[in-house]
């Protein structure tokens, strides 16, 4: 693996090949906001909050840093009026679902996102997929998964697996940015107990 030199927010960064732009930034202690990223999991590219501008051969475009490979000579900008505007709107759309999430509130303060710009529709889950992916990739238990699609997509514990796997694990709980996974688990636990 060879060394790569790139520039992030004017700072020269040296990383190894195969790293993503997000990992390169983290190594250089440049903060990029994320919601669906976790260092032990495969990059997912779902929340899009880590969007940055990259310039290659004079051409700039917006890319998602958690999945974009770091490449030699790349010029990366992690903040701009457009990036901030997009992040603000993304956060506002999530705040409609989970207005009291501390993680979201913290980011909202940073980007000036309004809590009530979009009609409140408290469903709590923000579809970052951390619980689902952690359970699948790290625990290989597949006790929680996504069901349905689009605006009807939600997480769901599979009762048969959850009854067997979850009680002594619960490692996904602290990963959830809105604590919704705990609620979903309690619900399925109650349902299993009823049977």
């Amino acid at each position: 693996m060879s060394d790569i030199h790139l520039q992030i927010d004017g700072k020269e960064v040296h990383v190894t090949e195969g790293m993503t732009v997000l990992e390169a930034a983290q190594q250089a202690r440049i903060a990029i906001p994320t919601l669906c990223y976790h260092e032990t999991l495969e990059p997912y590219g779902g929340c899009r909050l880590c969007i940055v501008e990259v310039e290659v051969n004079g051409w700039s475009r917006l890319v998602v840093s958690c999945v974009y490979p770091a490449a030699a000579g790349l010029i990366v900008r992690t903040r701009s009026a457009q990036i901030d505007r997009i992040r603000k709107t993304l956060l506002e759309m999530l705040l409609a679902h989970a207005p009291d999430s501390p993680v979201l509130q913290e980011l909202a303060a940073e980007y000036g996102a309004q809590r009530d710009r979009f009609a409140q529709e408290a469903s709590f889950c923000i579809h970052c997929g951390l619980c689902v992916r952690y359970c699948a990739e790290v625990k290989q238990a597949h006790a929680v998964g996504f069901i349905d699609r689009g605006i009807r997509k939600e997480i769901s514990f599979i009762p048969e697996i959850a009854a067997r796997e979850c009680h002594d694990c619960k490692e996904c709980f602290p990963l959830c940015p809105t604590s919704y996974v705990q609620a979903a688990y309690v619900l399925v636990e109650a349902l299993v107990a009823l049977r």
Binding site: G46, L90, R149
Partner: protein, 641 residues
């Protein structure tokens, strides 16, 4: 059934086929495409077989169910070979007359011929009908010539000669060069040059490599790929095999939507035939080239037409897109080099190999060569599939081929490119169709959907409709698409319902930016187009809805009222009886009045009021006039009231 193991055997077999088929042997070709089948083509085919048998003609005259020639509006379509007499909207009852007049005799059945709507003049041959006259049908013209389920028919018209040429005369490098020279661009939507895509895969060091057919045609109102796959499946197989040979792939997959049962059936049948003939499998025709094709039926997600979602679904996982900063032709199916092209792109390949890049580039605009099939639907006289040279102006497609707008209505917009395409207004009708031309105008080529709209279509409602479609079809993986579409749909719905607010347009524009710039895949990145393009060309309609609570097209239910003009009402009781909400007061000789409280704006009264009265009026943005007092509602004959 022959198993052909050398080129010589194939050539010999083809010669035998052609020799046993007299060129002038009479044949009744009946379109057996999905559109004509829905209009009763099976019954017509059965009627021809029965009638020919009854008349003792079955040995002399063939009956053939063919692929779709495109004129779906007038199906079932019947063509009599060799004369080429074209009968439209044929019913089983017409069959004895056709057999007696045109097959036993040599007269034409006038009433079944195409009649010019303006002059009433009849056209006997397919080629005389304006719908066909202005087309250039490279891909579709074979459809009516062959039985979709007969490999012999395909071989008899020169099928698989391109494969032979590629395998034995050209070799992969020359084929690749030819396809690159042709500048063939992907017909599935993005318009990426096929040759460059192929080259990337061919040069990728990783193996095995794959070639895929995207037959997950899901755009509302689009059926180009269906017609090709149903009508001439071997052409697609041949193209795919040439592609596989060129990039060094030995496996091909056809990802076809389950909602196309006939296409699935015909293509599976074609694969079985090609395998039996030795045109698929090990050591094809002794060339040393091994190739197999498998069919994968999609499970009904629109997003699986997106390249990475399609590959994820093929791998047996949930059909969600994945980030592709490394192109699929380098790292695609199972992480291997994969060329994915759509049905129409593959169907072009045998023609390019046979006739050469120079022939192909003779047609088209500077950057879009060849022909393109469009499915012409909506408010148009001649609904159907049309294949035209790239560069044909939109107005020629809509008026010369499509026959214009029916019912004396005024053209308003044409929506091209599928749900995430755009709507182009009258002033853009001069636009020449091509990938870059359509994109520059704010729409796109997409896979070739073309929906014509007239003055009765509200463009805000059209945007709402397509955004709703995309909201339903978003996979929900990435936030901008899932939540952005949810919010856009909500705002557009509220505008159509008369609850639009100041600032809504700005919010929609901001959401559009987030969708376009931040979405994971092509679906989300283009999903705001229905809004962006209608705003660009029809901003006044948005403003009328929001500021004046008025729908200029009189289409949005929440913004219109129905009112009966007392001067015109003849108290005929029709609307009263038909109103599902029992919301019309009146009686015999009592002028009818709509109770606005009860009215749910279904429009039945408007539809059923006899045209000579036209007493029911749609209003928008203005108050409904006071109803007549009871005492004045009695209709006095001759008084004009």
């Amino acid at each position: 059934m022959p198993r052909l193991s050398t080129v010589e055997e194939l050539t010999e077999f083809r010669q035998e086929l052609v020799a046993t088929r007299e060129a002038n042997r009479p044949c009744v070709a009946i379109c057996a495409g999905a559109g004509c089948l829905a209009s009763g083509a099976s019954e017509v085919i059965a009627a021809f077989k029965a009638e020919l048998a009854a008349q003792g003609l079955e040995a002399e005259i063939d009956t053939r169910g063919t692929g779709c020639p495109g004129f779906c509006e007038r199906g079932p379509v019947v063509v009599l070979h060799p004369e080429g007499i074209c009968y439209l909207q044929v019913k089983p009852d017409d069959v004895p007359e056709i057999v007696a007049q045109s097959l036993k005799g040599s007269k034409v059945v006038e009433r079944l011929l195409y009649a010019d709507p303006a002059t009433g003049e009849r056209a006997i041959h397919e080629s005389d009908i304006p719908f066909y006259q202005h087309q250039e049908r490279t891909l579709l013209s074979s459809n009516i010539l062959i039985d979709s389920r007969s490999i012999d028919d395909y071989l008899a018209i020169g099928g698989y000669t391109a494969l032979v040429k590629a395998l034995f005369e050209m070799g992969p490098e020359a084929v690749l060069e030819e396809v690159k020279q042709s500048t063939l661009r992907g017909r599935g939507g993005a318009g990426f040059p096929a040759g460059r895509k192929w080259e990337g895969s061919r040069n990728a060091p990783d193996t095995p490599r794959y070639v895929l057919v995207n037959a997950d045609e899901g755009d509302p109102g689009a059926f180009m790929d269906r017609a090709l796959l149903e009508g001439n499946p071997h052409a697609v197989l041949e193209g795919l095999m040439i592609g596989g040979f060129t990039i060094g792939a030995q496996e091909g997959y056809i990802y076809v939507r389950q909602e196309y049962p006939l296409a699935v059936k015909n293509v599976l049948h074609a694969i079985t035939q090609a395998e039996a003939y030795g045109l698929l499998g090990q050591d094809i025709l002794g060339s040393g080239f091994d190739f197999t094709i498998k069919v994968h039926k999609g499970a009904g997600a629109f997003v699986c037409g997106e390249s990475t979602a399609l590959m994820t679904a093929l791998e047996g996982r949930v059909g969600e897109p994945r980030p592709k900063y490394v192109r699929s032709n380098i790292k695609g199916l199972w992480g291997k080099p994969t060329v994915l092209n759509n049905v129409e792109t593959w169907a072009n390949v045998p023609h390019i190999v046979n006739r050469g890049a120079d022939w192909f580039t003779r047609t088209g605009t500077e950057h879009s060569k060849g022909t393109k099939i469009f499915s012409l639907v909506g408010k148009i006289r001649n609904t159907g599939l049309v294949e035209v040279p790239m560069g044909m102006p939109l107005q020629d497609i809509i008026y010369d081929i499509g026959g214009g707008i029916p019912g004396g209505k005024k053209f308003k917009a044409v929506q091209t490119g599928g749900p995430s395409g755009g709507c182009l207004p009258e002033e853009m009708l001069h636009l020449e169709v091509g990938f870059d031309e359509l994109t520059a105008a704010g729409s796109m080529m997409g896979s070739g959907g073309m929906i014509v709209m007239d003055e009765d279509n509200c463009m805000v409602d059209v945007a709402r409709y397509f955004i709703n479609f995309l909201t339903e079809e978003s996979c929900g993986k990435c936030l901008p698409c899932r939540e952005g579409l949810r919010q856009m749909h909500r705002i557009l719905t509220r505008i159509c319902e008369g609850n639009g607010r100041a600032g809504d347009i700005d919010t929609l524009e901001e959401l559009s930016e987030v969708l376009t710039e931040a979405s994971l895949c092509g679906l989300g990145q283009s999903a705001a187009n229905p809004f962006i393009s209608t705003l660009r060309y029809f901003r006044a309609e948005y403003e009328a809805h929001i500021e004046q609570k008025r729908c200029p097209a009189l289409a949005c239910k929440g913004l219109i009222s129905y009112w009966i003009d007392p001067e015109k009402c003849k108290a005929c009781l029709i609307c009263m009886k038909r109103c599902p909400s029992q919301g019309i007061e009146g009686g015999k000789k009592q002028i009818h009045v709509i109770d606005q409280e009860k009215c749910d704006r279904c429009g039945v009264c408007f539809e059923v009021c006899p045209e000579k009265f036209s007493a029911v009026v749609k209003l928008s943005g203005e108050p409904v006039p006071e109803s007549l007092p009871m005492a004045e509602r009695t209709l006095v004959r001759g008084s004009g009231k």
